[in-house]
Symmetry: C3
Subunit: 368 residues, 3 copies
Amino acid sequence: MSNLAQPLTQPRPYLMNAWYVAALSTEVDAQALFHRTLLDTPVLIYRKKGSGEPVAMLDRCPHRFLPLHMGDRDGDKVTCKYHGLQFDCDGACTHNPHGNQHIPAASTVPSFTLRERNGLIWIWMGDEAADESKLHDFGPLTEGPETGVGYTNIYVKCNYKLILDNVMDLSHIDHVHGEIITTRGKLSPLVPQVRAVGDAFAARWEWSQTPAMMIFAGFLPDPKAEARHFFDITYLMPGNIQLSVGATQDAGAPLDLEGTTGQYDLHTVTPETLTTTHYFFVTRRNHNVDDADFNKMKIEAMRNAFVDEDVPLAEAIQERMGVSADDFFAMKPVLMSNDVAAVRMRRTLETAIAQEQARTAASEKAAA
Amino acid sequence: MSNLAQPLTQPRPYLMNAWYVAALSTEVDAQALFHRTLLDTPVLIYRKKGSGEPVAMLDRCPHRFLPLHMGDRDGDKVTCKYHGLQFDCDGACTHNPHGNQHIPAASTVPSFTLRERNGLIWIWMGDEAADESKLHDFGPLTEGPETGVGYTNIYVKCNYKLILDNVMDLSHIDHVHGEIITTRGKLSPLVPQVRAVGDAFAARWEWSQTPAMMIFAGFLPDPKAEARHFFDITYLMPGNIQLSVGATQDAGAPLDLEGTTGQYDLHTVTPETLTTTHYFFVTRRNHNVDDADFNKMKIEAMRNAFVDEDVPLAEAIQERMGVSADDFFAMKPVLMSNDVAAVRMRRTLETAIAQEQARTAASEKAAA
Amino acid sequence: MSNLAQPLTQPRPYLMNAWYVAALSTEVDAQALFHRTLLDTPVLIYRKKGSGEPVAMLDRCPHRFLPLHMGDRDGDKVTCKYHGLQFDCDGACTHNPHGNQHIPAASTVPSFTLRERNGLIWIWMGDEAADESKLHDFGPLTEGPETGVGYTNIYVKCNYKLILDNVMDLSHIDHVHGEIITTRGKLSPLVPQVRAVGDAFAARWEWSQTPAMMIFAGFLPDPKAEARHFFDITYLMPGNIQLSVGATQDAGAPLDLEGTTGQYDLHTVTPETLTTTHYFFVTRRNHNVDDADFNKMKIEAMRNAFVDEDVPLAEAIQERMGVSADDFFAMKPVLMSNDVAAVRMRRTLETAIAQEQARTAASEKAAA
């Protein structure tokens, strides 16, 4: 768990001035003092009465350092269990029951900006002001009925970049996963097409297979016939991969989510520490969208595929790499054509982290 | 567990030339080779035949480093399980079964001075000669029938100072504990009165509440009426807090254990390591002293209150503070009027440790 | 577990250019991708089809660092589970299913030389060429019926030298072990006779006891009468101790395995890490050699004696010594006449390690 004896502003190994998913919206109910460690930092999250707006602050009283989540809610305020200091949603101390009830100037809990979007609670933990323009919009996730979308999350004992590596290189599918999403060996021979998308980038695979991917075949005109497929993934810093996948037997249809039977997914990771990760996954499909039982079965099946097939690999790799899992290139990996997107992801993110750290160092020097 | 590869005389983070509780008297029976790690040092304790006097030495054979408690007693001597070296109560090697049975000059186990007092076995682990004048006397614990006193101990996964902090600031009671010792909010508004007591210091709270503390109310003339109360705690280095508490409905009675229905307690802590602690507690009451069932119930209830209510907080704070739990001020805590006694405790102890370390460094320099 | 982020050639705390036991022959069946961490290095072992010859390589794909044992066998090749890279028995990459299927020059898994001898699979993990002349021959283990030999292994949480210390100083027997191998106190008074054996050395004890060691008494003419005994151990770097023991009531018989009822044993250790050890044991007896039930009982009894009596001591010592278990003399142990062979073992091994490290450093300097 995190130790914040250090000042919160010391150089951190993560991209700090960015939005990460702190929780699924459904994880934080109206009453609870939810808590989770994010970027080595214990965070308290709860929802305001009435509006339900989520708020976040350091999960640690500035007096005797008890986790605030062990305390009680008093309306929109939270009271520390140890000596009864009370804090409002912004982390300001609003009551000290001791002596003359003077509230010390420094008795403020660092708070964090949250935004709730697309069924996810996003957090900004950097020292710079929260930048709304950096908050990505995965609007398609919330366009459509609730029976057409599934949310899940998984705690994984590996560096977050190993999860991103996994999704950035979809050529692993035929080797790792079972019958339901096999491409019948069609994916491995492909070299993904990488293209810039604004200041982000995307990778794309297109192929035909017979029959179609099993998750789509039953929704196509001829489940046993050949179908054209595509994968399209966009990497958005720091931890997001938007993945679209679909299949069609209509020769004239475009290979996108308009033209195919497919789904729009978000894989997003938030480091707990350098060696443990909160992995969130959301999937919205464009077919059979009103079938609640199917919906439930589908998200469970996808979660099981991750837990049973991807996670054991990621955790075994973590064990082999140790702290170097965050510094992949230092281990001099053998790279191949299928690594192009994953390598670009690491380079992009690591460049951004280095730039941020240089910026922080410069501003600290200027301040000194 | 401890690793004594280092010389025993290296600078240690504890006040070394002082008395700590090694065990409750009842923990060390007539036969056993009792062992416990104290101040990062594994210690063997057993009682001499006949006199029952307890003796202590390093729990590690100087030959092949096996814990001596794995061996056997032979009268007042202990025989190492591995190769049969035998040591007397002072740690001197008295038999080597090998070869010509020559006993090497260096084959001595470091021993520690013990004193048994007030139902507790006290240990001196410093390099300076054991100073009897520093052994505190908590005589009232052993004045009265056995049915009026209770002993217990708890292993806590936190730095020992966090336990001392807890007891030095009794304003936590209404926030942490339940109905049986609530002060009905009367304690928090008070600023404890701190006074010197010899070279130690004490803190005191006085208040009235209605009804009286539940632990005393039933023994007062009118259980539902108002009563005057006091807490008085004395901090005695390194790890002792003597706490007296009582209630009275006699307007003329002094607020002390003569004038009230109350109890005389000792909270005392011994570090196992910097992050784990042996917490010992003794309580002697001045009422209903011949009731064995009540006595048993009372010590169990007090132990449960510590285990269920204080310990989870202390261990959660330890997790948040990490190694800084020993160096509280480095974390720049917000301090309030209720911290006065706890802060003075830390300052007093840390000053004494720094002075001791300077003294040790000077004498080593002089010796070199 | 091991972290090989470091180059494999960095200075290691072990004697690297030497043969260690990687596994019992029976542990690696015809099909399995067996794996074990040896000298901090994860190793994959499997047997070739047809010949059954065992092969070994680093258990880590050079691409994304997945343990190769999680993959699949394809004849004599192994395919990585993550992205399907295929490697032959020498660790050469033979297939890349991605893109144009180009095999990167660097995509080789470091392999290790194995030799199977005496029912054991031996591994050479050093950077120098495997030196067959250093592979010891414990031929007597495999001379005789299968019902006269037993193999076992134990995972012990201690430094490997602590196991060697244990066997090098047999004076521990009467103190640690029970009735079946007691020498009735006859061993401790002896000083072992140490002699050079080629560039290795041996130690020897001779004594008489009444009755004979229980493991032999029933096979002697008069089970209750006195018998002459011997122990003879030869230390062979890095981790081998060949131990012979026997008893005879024939006054003219030589004290060796020709002249006595006895057994020829091999104790051999391979470090997993500096604090964990794979301990292998083989015993061949020269009596009752066709009794399969007795054979099974005997190896189980010996294994139980190690697990119940030696291992708890070794692990407790490890806890007391910490990392210094590898550097025993730094703890300034008290040494006695019974330590002569164990001390010589440590000095011999540590000198060889220091020489090897100097040789490595010199060759690296020359290369630079």
